[in-house]
Amino acid sequence: MSLALRAQLLLFLISLSSRMGLSRYIEVRSRFCFVNPFTVMVMCVCVCVWFVGCLDMLATDGFFTFVASRPQLACASFIIAEPSEVISLELSDVSIDCSAGDFIKMFDGWVLKGEKFPSSRDHQLPLHQRYTDYCSSPAPGSTSRSSQNVAMIFFRIQSPDSRFTLAVKKLHNPFPCNIMSQSPEGSFTMVIPHQRRNCSFSIIYPVEIRLTELSLGQAKSNELSPQRQVWSGCSGSGDYVELLGGNGVDTSKMFPVADLCFSLSGLAQMKIGCDNSVVRLVSSGNYINRVSFQYRLLEHNELPKTRENSLDNFCSVE
């Protein structure tokens, strides 16, 4: 029996033996290939990951049981939904020892290298309210609902055979704000109707962004709007769109590469060669603001070449 066939058979048996939902984890202490037991039915997806700890990403609804075969001290699972959805998380069948240092914490957003998405200035809740701690006293938190299409859980399980089940459910969000794109290509229209808030659309790829429509400052009534003053940049305006680029997920720490504070009906495009490219709509709440844009992944030859002996950290923009 060939090695590939044996691997497939073993994984098929593993998938049959899981009692409920998908029992899954990715645990890496050295480089190895992990074949997703679910996709082995349709296609073989072999992904090599190299990370100390355990890590997972969930994009589907369902029940997911996490079982520790050995102590897992730093685990996280990112959860992502469609842009027009929010995520509901519920813990059940939890068998951990909080007093021994085990924990399960759900976070409203993503945290990566100490940076949060959405940033504190774009999220409506203070930071401590974005965490739901299962082990907290007096009332342990076992349910959480995200404010945008991303959420995550952090957990530490030190005793073997400790486990918990996470129910992931997606709910429709009619006015999405603060979106993380699942793909490096696509299009989106962001609308902020009479709300004083800032919304970001984040693409964790270097992309070319084309703004196809921008509608700012539609008054509530037919009253004439006052003459807009000319500011240096749009930061003095109450409503504007800015394009950001950076190498983290926190939009407040990214570099503004362009901003627009006048409505436009033509095309405006920009290439952002950063790990993260963001379209951010700032709204005063006085108007209905809307921005439509398309984005595509930059090809390798379109990526800016790093200049030799350069001290610049900033990812290039064209």
Binding site: N36, M43, V47, F51, L55, A59, A74, G114, S183, N276
Partner: protein, 149 residues
């Protein structure tokens, strides 16, 4: 006059408990605690005026304590102001301790984060999307099978 005033202050401070030596918030201070800079300033003033001595203790030379037979109104006013200041300081310290305790509770939770590169994040995101598409394909296939029957 100033020397008498200083001596009265030293006497008053001598009956107060010394400031706490350990770090961290105390639950219930036994008495009003003077902030250290005030003590040092008094000690400095005392030692400077006497032309010597260190800053180790504000009550550096007990033999220099002179009891005054009658206290002037100015000294009384100064003592009253000192008492009021002591009470204010105590209140401020208690408020700061409460704030520090709250901050401590919030900061007990370590800032949880993953040091994950964007490259790895994209890899797991692609895996998750592939899984989602496979699940959708399977669901569509079942739907078509049921329609075909």
């Amino acid at each position: 006059m100033k020397l008498n005033f200083s001596l009265w202050l030293v006497a008053l401070l001598g009956v107060l408990p010394p400031p706490s030596a350990h770090c961290g918030p105390t639950v219930a201070p036994a008495g009003p605690r003077l902030p250290r800079p005030l003590l040092l300033r008094l000690g400095e003033e005392f030692s400077l005026r006497l032309g010597g001595g260190g800053l180790s203790s504000p009550v550096a030379a007990p033999d220099l304590f002179i009891s005054s037979s009658s206290s002037s109104s100015g000294v009384n006013q100064a003592l009253l102001q000192l008492t009021q200041r002591l009470l204010q300081v105590e209140q401020q310290q208690q408020e700061e301790e409460v704030v520090e305790e709250e901050k401590g509770k919030r900061s007990e939770e370590p800032p949880i984060s993953l040091d994950l590169t964007f490259h790895l994040l994209r890899e797991v995101l692609q895996m998750a999307r592939a899984e989602q598409m496979a699940q959708q394909a399977d669901s569509n296939r079942r739907m078509m099978d049921s329609f075909g029957k």
